[in-house]
Subunit: 225 residues, 2 copies
DNA sequence: TCAAAAATAAGTATTAATACTTATTTTTTA
DNA sequence: TAAAAAATAAGTATTAATACTTATTTTTGA
């Protein structure tokens, strides 16, 4: 179970994010803060895995919050939420120690992907943001290019979040295309019973109870085209 | 069964389109032409419902072809295929009598939606194209605005293509969300047997044999969000 | 090289979906 | 207001999926 703390001065935003995460079993929103000092307190008392923090808040900015959180406990991963994709903000967030930067107009799918990528220890920056990064990195020394990956390279990590094996991922793709276990067995030259086990295991790993939920979840995480 | 004639000087393009349409039971590609005169002949002998025509061809341009076809038989609906979204081409196509304008880089989904919309008597213009239309209409008199609708307003007409009833469309949405017949019955306060019948009927109408194919097809046609 | 992980496959039950048909009651709408 | 269309629901069978467990054989990685 991945523990998440939400930091945003708008109740509506926190509530929206909470609603999205409530449908996902592997995540649990353990706390909410509406300002910086509260957030820092919460992180100390709850030691969450991920903090999702708005960049623009009264009193203390998200940048400062992330800076302080990272200084206190650098096992906590932070994702910045922002309205804008200005170079300034993004670079400052990275320097402060943020592992992700998401525009607020990102869809649910991208949002979940960002969390899944960051929770695996990778970094996530939404589409437009990555190009800004690339631009800024081109001017500097390239020693940290491997450390800052763009989301393009992270497509396959959603598979890892659920720890699917190669065969399971393969069967997932075939199953959501509408093939029955029998069809899949024939296609892969294995027994129907084997595909049943694979399907059972992968459904358990992904926490779904029928093929359609499997399909919907796989789509949400961008695991299928 | 909706009869379609393909007109394009490239064999590969015709073949690709044919392959897409072969998976769709409600359509049948009854003829192919590689140039204008051939196309006109085919339309006269086969009287198809829809002609899909490339705009740029040697000898006779797609615009001319559509013009002549419309003059001969104005029950035939035409969709223009183009590489470019230039104002010129689009406006000329509309004047020639085309009911749709599709960029060649449109995906399968958009392609199918365009055909479904046009086959119902509506007009379809792909995203970027609509803005050009709006721009050109703004300068002229607005008497023909209602005649030229953009694809945005056409979302619901795919439901009509399969002639789904209101209840069927409702059950489609619930079914693809992962709900079982029992769940749906409870939700709608009807018997499980009733939802089974609705599901059976709607699957028959859409020509699919399980929920996942139903899901995939509904997505293809933009019937579900 | 050897232990751990993955892939294979069978067993046993239960539940849900698919594939129809028939038939009554409501709604629409021409 | 009568006829057509839609929604309702039951019947009967068959097939497929779901929910496990156990167990053997391959692969693979440290």
């Amino acid at each position: 179970m991945i523990k998440i703390v939400l930091v945003d001065d708008h109740f509506m935003v926190r509530d929206g994010i909470r609603a999205i995460l409530e449908d996902e079993e592997q995540y649990s929103v353990v706390g909410e803060a509406s300002n910086g000092p509260e957030a820092i307190e919460l992180v100390q008392s709850l030691s969450p895995d991920i903090v999702i923090c708005d960049i623009r808040m009264p009193q203390m900015s998200g940048i400062e919050v992330v800076q302080k959180i990272t200084a206190l406990d650098n096992s906590v991963r932070t994702i910045m939420l922002s309205m804008h994709d200005s170079d300034e903000y993004i670079l400052q967030s990275i320097n402060a120690g943020a592992e992700g930067y998401l525009l607020k107009d990102a869809g649910k799918e991208e949002f979940l992907k960002a969390i899944s990528v960051v929770s695996k220890g990778d970094k996530y920056f939404s589409g437009d943001v990555s190009s800004i990064l690339v631009r800024s990195i081109k001017g500097s020394d390239s020693s940290n290019i491997s450390a800052i990956d763009t989301n393009v390279a992270k497509k396959q990590s959603s598979k890892d979040l659920f720890e699917l094996t190669k065969r399971e991922a393969q069967i997932l793709r075939l199953a959501v295309s509408g093939m029955t276990n029998k069809d899949i067995a024939q296609e892969l030259n294995i027994s129907k019973r084997t595909t049943e086990v694979h399907r059972f295991n992968l459904m358990k790993k992904m926490g779904v109870k029928n093929v359609l939920e499997l399909n919907n979840k796989a789509r949400e995480y961008g695991m299928i085209p």
